[in-house]
């Protein structure tokens, strides 16, 4: 991979209980990106977006290797929403678009429901946060044997995006990568365990920003059923289902995802 220039910005968050570090890349108008459960990672979609936007990606509490214990400062999703809202406003990030995959999508939806003026547009990629008896799903992903993870995240575990995501890191980085990934999952699991439902379905009606819900048709983790649930519950929303695609839509079908995202952001 060619080197990709990123910088960081840090803001004091949650009444000074911890510092929230943002990874930042690109230039142009601001866009907020909320990463998924495996931690922050600049994939093809984000690298592409940074050509047109300044992408601000906060590292979820605990997932910043410089401060892994800040996760103990947030106890429930309400704490997280308030801490993020304060940090985003401190950086002047309001009235801007947000993109969030999986757990990041759940968090984006929580923020947009809690503070309807915070985001101009909301893009949710296979977001967590809803649960119903008719399409039960659990956090099997978090306790699955490592060799089964690519098959849970991708329809085709041999897709280039999967190859990139699961490429073995250099031997000297391998231990760091493993520790950071496992701890990131553990931090995020605090807000998803044992079932990823914290009552978001009651709050989605508050979202006023135009919302794009994008889902891999063959998502083996969070069934595509929830694309339509999200669509039903968010007032100004549009649902797009990407065929032949698993949970990690932006990595498995980066072109299709990027096209839909850019159209929506331009619309």
């Amino acid at each position: 991979m060619t080197t990709f220039a990123t910088r960081t910005e840090t803001v004091e968050a949650w009444g000074g209980r911890f510092n929230l570090r943002f990874q930042v890349a690109g230039s142009g108008p601001a866009l907020v990106y909320l990463h998924g459960a495996r931690g922050m990672y600049w994939d093809e979609l984000l690298r592409g977006l940074s050509d047109r936007f300044t992408v601000y990606a906060p590292m979820f509490p605990g997932t910043d290797p410089a401060d892994t214990m800040s996760i103990h400062q947030v106890d429930d999703i309400f704490d997280v929403v308030l801490a993020y809202e304060g940090a985003l406003r401190a950086l002047g990030l309001h009235g801007v678009p947000v993109i969030g995959p999986s757990f990041g999508g759940m968090l984006a939806a929580e923020l947009a429901a809690g503070f309807p003026d915070l985001f101009s547009r909301v893009i949710l990629l296979d977001p967590a946060g809803l649960w119903s008896e008719s399409a039960p799903w659990t956090l099997d992903f978090f306790s699955a044997p490592p060799e089964s993870v690519p098959g849970l995240l991708f329809k085709d575990p041999d897709a280039p995006g999967a190859q990139e995501m699961f490429a073995p890191p250099s031997p000297e980085r391998a231990l760091d990568v493993a520790v950071n990934t496992i701890w990131a999952l553990g931090c995020v699991a605090k807000f998803l365990w044992p079932l990823p439902d914290r009552g978001l379905s009651k709050r989605l009606h508050r979202i006023s920003a135009p919302t794009l819900i994008l889902w891999g048709e063959d998502d083996a983790l969070i069934p595509v059923h929830y694309a339509h649930e999200y669509g039903r519950l968010i007032p100004h929303s549009r649902v797009e289902v990407i065929p032949d695609c698993g949970h990690a839509a932006q990595a498995e079908k980066p072109d299709a995802t990027a096209t839909l995202v850019k159209e929506f952001l331009d619309g």
């Binding site: 892994t68 996760i71 103990h72 490592p146 493993a178 496992i182 553990g186 931090c187 699991a189 365990w193």
Partner: protein, 423 residues
Amino acid sequence: MRFIYLQHIPYRHLSEGFAARFPESVVTTPYFEVAEPTLVHADIRAGLDEAMHAARAGFDAVGLTEHGQSSYDMDPNPDLGAAALAYQIGAEDLNTGIYVVGRSLGKTREPLRVAEELAWLDHLSAGRLMTGFPVGLPYDANINAGVPPIETRARYDENLSFVLKAWTAREPFAWNGKYSQYMSVNVWPRPFQTPHPPVSVTGTGNPNTTRFALQRDFGFNLIVMGGPSSAAQRIFDGLWRTADELGVDDNPFRANFAQFVLVADTDREAERLYAEHVAYSATRGVGHIPMHRYTLPGGISPPGLRVLLANSQLADAHPSDPPSFRQLVESGAIVAGSVATVRERLADRARSYRVGNLLLLLQMGSMPTDLVKHNIDMFAGEVMPGLKDIWWEYEDANRWWPARLGGRPVSVTQTELAGVQLI
């Protein structure tokens, strides 16, 4: 030495093809497909019968552990079995301790109930109770009980502080915990023993746990089912090194070590009698739990993960075949053989680990009751007498045993409520 007979209550009738068809003996093990209610009934009764047999044979205590949603130990709450044992041991006027080795406090959402049940058991048994508080195995605390892995340890700390306070507070109190809140805590009855039954914590190697046990003067149980003896040596070496650093005495009765033990007339006879049941345990019992059920994200902090992963890269993560009887004996995972062999091996370990209490698992996998009782009789009659005197010079200061059974009163350190950070 003190000898505690530790009872698992496995389902003993899983078919030979179980391991090939089903990935584990916990969490997802099918019930209706493999279990027969009359056999479950028989196995639960057998577990209690065997424990009573051990009590009558002269073991110092009998113990039970807690494992939810598992076929290798059908014991979702050890207080249930302990109640039956307490009643019968009292009725027969036996001088046998009743050791609830596990009420997992990282798992429980109702610590008041834990305090109440154990205090009640202490009365029923007239002060024969010993209490153990493990953090809880990840598959049980996190998957079965639904506690986020990152919260297990903090929940354990809080619940342990709560139980000790609930047992000892003179007046009713309000409890504003992070994980539970109570308007008025006034456990009735408070425990029979003063100030409360002996308390132990259970570890599997985390140095924070051994340090915590020493700082609070709790007993420490090392329970690494089927692990090699070299691992236990490292952990106990660490325990005594820490005791020295902390200026805590090195009384071996602080330390308990769990061990599968199988005794017969000769080494060869032991293999003949027990090998099939050891194989059952390895492929259909406690040996049939995948590693990912023990390591859930968030349960181990980054520094701990670093150590664990760095070590595990050296090990074979995917052993192809379950270990044989002889391999398990050679690695020290089980101690099996003639009276002389078993006595010698246990004496070696007791001395090199410096442990005063052995937690002896004499039932393994599919072992039928008659064979378990034979093993119990062999151990109590032939092995125990030759080991009893080890560490006896420290018995005068043994404060990890009920007073009515010869222990000293629980040290005041144990009831100090100053929280110790475990993470």
